[in-house]
Symmetry: C2
Subunit: 142 residues, 2 copies
Amino acid sequence: MKSSNSRFNKCLYFSANALARKVEKLAAESWKKIHLAPSHAYLLMMVLEEPGAQPGAIAKEMQLTPSTITRLIEKLEEKKLVIRTTEGKIANVFATSKAKELYPKMKACLNDFSKKYGEILGADESIRMVQNINKLTDKLPG
Amino acid sequence: MKSSNSRFNKCLYFSANALARKVEKLAAESWKKIHLAPSHAYLLMMVLEEPGAQPGAIAKEMQLTPSTITRLIEKLEEKKLVIRTTEGKIANVFATSKAKELYPKMKACLNDFSKKYGEILGADESIRMVQNINKLTDKLPG
DNA sequence: TCATGTTATTTGTATATACAAATAAAACCT
DNA sequence: AGGTTTTATTTGTATATACAAATAACATGA
């Protein structure tokens, strides 16, 4: 069933969720090569690029709640991809050397993914669409 | 943090998910009045408008998997809003009279929600955006 | 007709995410 | 300094969703 044929096709709730689910799936395919879920991969990339990042800052940047970030970090710790140091109420997250070795492959996965949807949508079109979605998101409250 | 300032702002995965989360929250507010999660509400409306709908068809229209539909129906059954009849391998889902009584309020919630984001985004803009999102979704595989 | 394949649904299990409450540390008044 | 408020993080619990396997019914071709 196409979104454009659904009885719900006029509703932003439905449309936004349907898009997110499809995109999630497409992204998961790209990241599968290195056995990471997209959200784990994004967090890890952030930590690689900003060593010692704090969970609260990560939450803001990823627009997820702090509790979700805690849970993601736990998973990445299990995989020995990050470590956490806690000093007072502040936690800092660092990528391990295992993660650092993975970094080039991660960039390749990211590339693969954006190429994949770039081909489907057209390069210009896809860049414009992402910008429009961001603009929309920024206007919504919260 | 604005989407447009995030290090991930160029990535469709990130953008689509951030949008969906915000919209979900906004929708949940509107549906809270009648104590329904948006996905439950959408399924229920479909069943109200199409009595006897089959889980498989509902899955297609809502672009969710059949197993997810089963789970949603279970919840709605607990709330006495739908009943399920099974004949052979075919199941049919019907709204109860309790659900039928709720229908006008549901339409009001839906209205409230679309008014809410219509005000935030502008009526034309929001309609155009939903169409663009649908078009994008339809182009993606799966 | 019956063996095999296909379809519809459900179940078992896993993941992502959130909210609210619990901790714990730091900052801030007076 | 000592009490109060704010901030950062984690934990307990709940929801939405999916995939893969199980089940059950149906269809179909030899």
